[in-house]
């Protein structure tokens, strides 16, 4: 081993090969480069020519240097260079690695792993046997045990697979395991500790660390590797509800740690809701803080964590217990959606919506699910099973809030805090002398004691309580004259509260004031939250934290927790922290809260040597050097190719960069592996997807379409004709359509096409009703059909040709507006080209259009009928040669046919735009004036 500073060569003798480099260079220098090869047609003229001078060609110097560099790199790589080599291990005996792999190691796990790997690399070089002991109980629940002797390489695999556990270490068990181990003495013992003790609430001393150290010292020399006191892990307690706040405690093991830590609160799916600092008073080990969030957001928090810490104890999961309370709303009146402001529950709903989970329904339905608070607006008398269930629910701890109203004034039941007089009291009405009453200040008893009244609230009507002895205790709010406005009383474990006025603005304007919101919130706070599972059940693990505080699938060894033991169970291999229960009602089980106060390890024997973690890991440079050498060799290859003229210009550069990129891709296989494997399910084609494919194909590009007649010749000509027209359109106009589509009028959807070419063969079968409906809808929603009877020699449309007869049969079934021959000045005659007649294969046949386009379909005729067999004139083969001759062999007629096609497509696509263009001169003239 040859060492220069922090670089060492494990196989230094290979370096001797460097001496051979000059010889290699000289050899390359004298060999002339390969000539460039050039294909040259005029080579005959070169034969026999003599060059006046001959100087030997040489390889350029820079290329030689490049090659020398490649050779040097390869030699250096083979010498096995190592960056940051560790010193020799002390002693000669077995190396015992003891690692604290509990939650407290997770935050700085990489330095620990690197240190272990460095130690193992050194042990490997010296051929020492290795034993490994982890101090956290294994996940499978088996007892702690020191491993048998391994080679360093075997140990490396174990160390690389080692992960911090989301539970505390058990050093007493580890000490016992060490005492029972059979290891040759003296050994070299390296203890990678997390430096943290959890003495438990109230205890002042924890001897476990000292005991383990003592046990280890008996094996041989003990080296303790630890984080500095400033780097020790911290923990975050479970949430507590104090008043309206959600409070947490952050604990640290050493006063040397940072005084300010940042706390993050996030919602489901990791959405960050808040980030706030928490400050430790100097010298203290714990800091309390309340989550500083509006209630709406607070209810969405599912996870609170220390930002700079990465461990299971730095994460506090929240569940329903800390969420908003479910409140049921039941109204006695029939629900009237049209006048929400008069609705009995409108104001209650508005007041509570931000703070509670509201459920509207009937009493029996609302009570089927867990409920904290139930609001009844003017429900006069509860009867039957509703009464029984409600009674039971309130006795079990529910909070029932009732509002008075006309119905309550008539008759009530006994689920009331006090007995009421029948009838209501009217204040300030047209027939009374009294003024509407104001509120009196809140009495010192009851939940409203902390609130101050709103002076402008007026109460017009109320129901009155029968005066009883205890009415004063039950009155939580009253009017100026002393009559109770809100009364409340315990009922079993729960509460029954009555507002002596309505929940809407009929009887008072209390519901309009902000005070109403505060009063309702105070009442909701009376409730204890939902007891998720009333009776004892077993909660299976749902999602568990790993050592780094990440939620994941539960491990098979995790056991369910009984619902009433969640608070008392200590996290461990059988019960890792995380969520337990089922998705709808999960319970959070946190590690941080169970740990109690933290303390730093102290009082270890002075004979122990303390070391810090080795931050820089040993790195074998061989693969890197070889990669660089490979890249340079490829560069050299490309360069010499260029010199030989094998690449030209841009092609060369592109090829070279492609090669380099490909090599880079190969050289970093990890980047490819890092991608999560995606599972592809085999595509299943359904009829709907076929329909989608057809629709996408037809709709994504403007396409002309023709009706497939079943006559192969006609269909072929139609397709070729529309293809020819599409090409001519693309060449001359901005209409760049896709290949035309043949449609089966019975089966395919035609709504996608602006123009449908429909040749008549004479052999048409009558259309089905669906097809007729489709054609009718097509014409009424903007499509244009060009009917071509292809029988101009027989007199065209109006004559007696086969096509005409077939068309007549077809049209008789459709709703066709009156038709006229194309009049003079029709848009068809001037949409793109100016033309008066519209020849196709035949010339002279009349063309018919709808009489008034009118407002329908933008004024575009939905039907164009002619007999000139245009498709034949348009049909071009793949090379652009006409497929069919025109009538008299006059190519000009074919040109005119194309012009008609272009005019028609323009007419169909532009709607009334072209028609309006006619008026443009007049408009411009008017504008000019």
């Amino acid at each position: 081993m040859l060492i220069f500073g922090n670089l060492a060569f494990a196989a230094p003798w290979v370096l001797a090969a460097l001496a051979s480099l000059p010889v290699l260079l000289w050899l390359m220098r004298v060999t002339p480069p390969t000539p460039k090869r050039i294909d040259f047609p005029a080579i005959r003229l070169l034969f026999g020519l003599q060059s006046p001078e001959e100087t030997p060609a040489k390889t350029p110097l820079w290329l030689l240097l490049l090659r020398a560099l490649v050779a040097t790199l390869i030699i250096l790589a083979l010498a096995n260079p190592i960056l940051n080599p560790g010193a020799r291990l002390d002693g000669l005996g077995t190396v015992v690695l003891v690692v604290d792999d509990g939650w407290a190691s997770a935050d700085r796990w990489e330095p620990r792993r690197d240190t272990m790997l460095n130690l193992l690399a050194r042990a490997d070089r010296e051929g020492r046997a290795v034993a490994l002991l982890t101090t956290a109980p294994p996940p499978d629940g088996s007892p702690l045990r020191i491993s048998g002797l391994m080679t360093a390489n075997e140990a490396r695999e174990e160390v690389q697979a080692l992960q911090p556990k989301p539970w505390p270490v058990d050093r007493l068990a580890a000490a016992a395991a060490v005492r029972g181990a059979d290891i040759d003495r003296p050994a070299e013992v390296y203890w990678l500790t997390d430096g943290i003790l959890t003495p438990g609430e109230g205890a002042t001393d924890d001897p476990s660390a000292r005991e383990l150290a003592a046990a280890l010292q008996r094996l041989g020399t003990l080296h303790v590797l630890s984080d500095g006191p400033g780097d020790l892990s911290m923990s975050l307690s479970s949430p507590r509800i104090e008043g309206s706040d959600l409070r947490f405690t952050v604990r640290r093991a050493s006063a040397a740690s940072a005084n300010i830590v940042w706390v993050r609160a996030s919602a489901e799916r990791g959405q960050l809701l808040s980030r706030q600092p928490v400050e430790f008073a100097p010298g203290t080990m714990a800091a309390d803080f309340a989550l500083d969030l509006p209630s709406e957001l607070r209810n969405r928090v599912v996870r609170v964590e220390l930002e700079a810490q990465r461990s299971a104890a730095a994460v506090s999961l929240l569940d329903e217990r800390w969420r908003r309370r479910p409140v049921g709303l039941v109204s006695g009146e029939s629900v009237d959606r049209d006048q929400p402001l008069l609705s009995g529950l409108y104001y209650v709903e508005r007041a509570l919506a931000p703070y509670a989970d509201l459920r509207h329904s009937t009493i029996s339905q609302v009570l089927e699910r867990d409920l904290s608070v139930l609001v009844l607006a003017d429900v006069g008398r509860l009867v039957g099973s509703d009464k029984t269930k409600l009674d039971e629910w309130v006795s079990d701890g529910g909070v029932l809030i009732r509002f008075a109203g006309p119905r309550t004034a008539q008759e009530t039941d006994d689920l009331m805090p006090t007995r009421l007089r029948r009838g209501e009291r009217n204040l300030g009405g047209a027939m009374t002398w009294t003024e509407p009453a104001k509120l009196a200040p809140f009495p010192q008893i009851g939940p409203f004691a902390a609130l101050s009244i709103s002076p402008d609230v007026r109460v017009n009507r109320q129901v009155l309580a029968e005066p009883t002895l205890d009415i004063g205790e039950k009155t939580w709010a009253k009017l100026e004259d002393g009559t109770p406005l809100v009364t409340g009383a315990r009922y079993g474990d729960g509460w029954v509260v009555l507002f002596h006025t309505t929940a809407n603005a009929d009887w008072s304007d209390l519901p309009l004031s902000g005070l109403f919101v505060d009063m309702l919130r105070s009442l909701v706070r009376l409730s204890q939250g939902v007891d998720v599972q009333g009776n004892r059940v077993s909660l299976p693990p749902l999602a568990l934290l790993d050592g780094f505080g990440r939620l994941g699938e539960p491990s098979p060894a995790a056991q369910p927790i009984a619902s009433d033991e969640v608070e008392t169970t200590r996290p461990g291999p059988r019960h890792p922290p995380g969520y337990y229960g089922v998705d709808e009602a999960r319970q959070a089980f946190n590690l941080g809260g169970a740990l109690g106060p933290l303390a730093a390890i102290s009082g270890l024997p002075s004979s122990v040597s303390f070391e810090a973690f080795n931050e820089s890991r040993e790195r074998n440079l061989m693969p890197w050097l070889l990669t660089v050498a490979l890249l340079l060799a490829l560069t050299e290859l490309v360069a010499s190719f260029v010199l030989r003229g094998l690449f030209r210009g841009g092609v060369g550069v592109a090829t070279a960069s492609a090669i380099v990129l490909a090599v880079l891709g190969v050289a970093h296989p990890h980047s490819a592996e890092a991608q999560t494997p995606t599972q592809f399910s085999p595509p299943i084609t359904t009829p709907a997807q076929i329909g989608d494919a057809y629709a996408l194909n037809a709709a994504l590009q403007t396409r002309l379409a023709f009706v497939v007649t079943g006559n192969a010749d006609v269909d072929k000509l139609s397709e070729a004709g529309l293809l020819g027209l599409t090409r001519v359109l693309a060449a001359r106009t901005s209409v760049e359509g896709g290949a035309p589509v043949g449609v089966d009028i019975e089966r395919n959807e035609i709504a996608f096409f602006p123009l449908l070419y429909w040749p008549m063969t004479g052999g048409e079968r009558p259309l089905s009703d669906q097809a007729l409906a489709k054609v009718d809808a097509y014409m009424k929603t903007g499509g244009t059909i060009l009917f071509d009877t292809r029988d101009a020699p027989d007199g065209g449309f109006g004559g007696t040709g086969r096509g005409t007869l077939a068309l007549r049969t077809l049209l008789s079934q459709l709703d066709i507006p009156p038709l006229i021959p194309v009049p003079e000045g029709h848009v068809l005659t001037q949409a793109f080209y100016l033309m008066q007649d519209f020849p196709g294969r035949y010339a002279g046949g009349r063309v018919w259009v709808v009489q008034h386009g009118g407002g329908i379909n933008d004024g575009v005729s939905t039907i164009v009928i002619g007999a000139n067999d245009w498709a034949a004139a348009w049909a071009l083969d793949a090379d652009g040669w006409p497929l069919a001759t025109v009538d008299n062999g006059d190519e000009r007629q074919r040109e005119m046919a194309f012009r008609f096609g272009i005019n028609l497509v323009m007419y169909v696509l532009t709607g009334n735009y072209k028609a309006d263009q006619v008026h443009l001169p007049a408009i411009i003239e008017r504008l000019g004036q």
Partner: protein
């Protein structure tokens, strides 16, 4: 190059010149009814002149209406309308596909020139045919389109014709346009030209070369390889050979010129980095003045 693209570019090129009427002194022998008048009496459809009836004229040729206006008999004569036939040929050998740098390949340029010329001829009402096509000369845009399509198709597949025009029996006194690189040995070219010239056919040779072939711009150690199986040659310093190469090329051109002049033909050269209008104008001049 696709067929329509060639045609379009060629027609753009040709549009700068008026329709080409091939000067045809010897039209008598390659008669074909054509659309443009020859400004002399002959078979045709448009009126040319009345002349006095002469002994021997058939009674049916007398224009009785004209004759009735005076005491004499008049014969109505039409203008002779005849078209010249021009055969076109382009070298289709592998060497024509050569291109150095960003110039068009020789075959592309030759095709363009030939189609442009054909367009001009067609607009002049002449008849054209491709050598080796074994079809009668045609007129009209269809013939132009056919010629262009055939040329493009031949440029893609290695067509039948090699680096020399085939010896074909053409009507006497037709015109022949040959475009190629004419890099074959002069001894092979000579009999072909002499053969055509002997039948009274006038011709024009246009040698199209790539700039690299004209200048030999290569340097350093280079291995040349012929594209038609001529063999290989390794040259250690090409720049040393340049002067002698240029001299050899000039000699060869002088030989070709000598050869064509002896046959009464013309010879011109063109390099692909120059605009195509130059040789087109030259050919236009040669054909319309009948110097060839």
């Amino acid at each position: 190059m696709a067929d329509p693209a060639v045609r379009q570019r060629a027609e753009e090129l040709a549009s700068t010149l008026p329709p080409l009427l091939v000067a045809a002194e010897r039209v008598a022998m390659t008669v074909a009814q054509g659309v443009h008048g020859r400004r002399r009496v002959g078979p045709g459809e448009s009126f040319w002149q009345y002349r006095r009836y002469e002994q021997g004229d058939a009674a049916t040729v007398i224009d009785w209406r004209q004759s009735a206006k005076s005491d004499r008999l008049f014969v109505r004569q039409q203008e002779w309308e005849a078209a010249q036939s021009v055969w076109l040929w382009r070298d289709n050998s592998p060497s024509m596909h050569y291109r150095s740098g960003f110039t068009p390949s020789k075959i592309d340029r030759a095709t363009l020139l030939l189609v442009a010329l054909a367009a001009l001829l067609i607009r002049g009402g002449e008849r054209i045919a491709l050598l080796g096509e074994e079809r009668l000369p045609g007129s009209g845009r269809a013939a132009l389109a056919r010629v262009a399509a055939t040329l493009v198709a031949r440029a893609k597949a290695d067509g039948p014709s090699g680096s020399l025009p085939p010896a074909e029996q053409l009507p006497r006194f037709s015109s022949l346009i040959l475009i190629g690189d004419f890099l074959s040995p002069i001894e092979e070219i000579e009999p072909v030209i002499r053969g055509y010239a002997a039948r009274g056919i006038t011709g024009h040779l246009l040698q199209v070369l790539d700039p690299a072939e004209e200048d030999l711009p290569f340097t350093g150690r280079t291995e040349f390889e012929g594209v038609e199986g001529e063999g290989r040659l390794v040259v250690s310093r090409v720049e040393g050979l340049r002067d002698s190469y240029l001299k050899r090329l000039a000699d060869r051109r002088a030989n070709l010129k000598q050869l064509t002049r002896a046959a009464g033909w013309t010879f011109s050269t063109h390099r692909t980095d120059r605009p195509a209008q130059v040789p087109l104008l030259l050919l236009y001049e040669l054909l319309s003045t009948g110097e060839g």
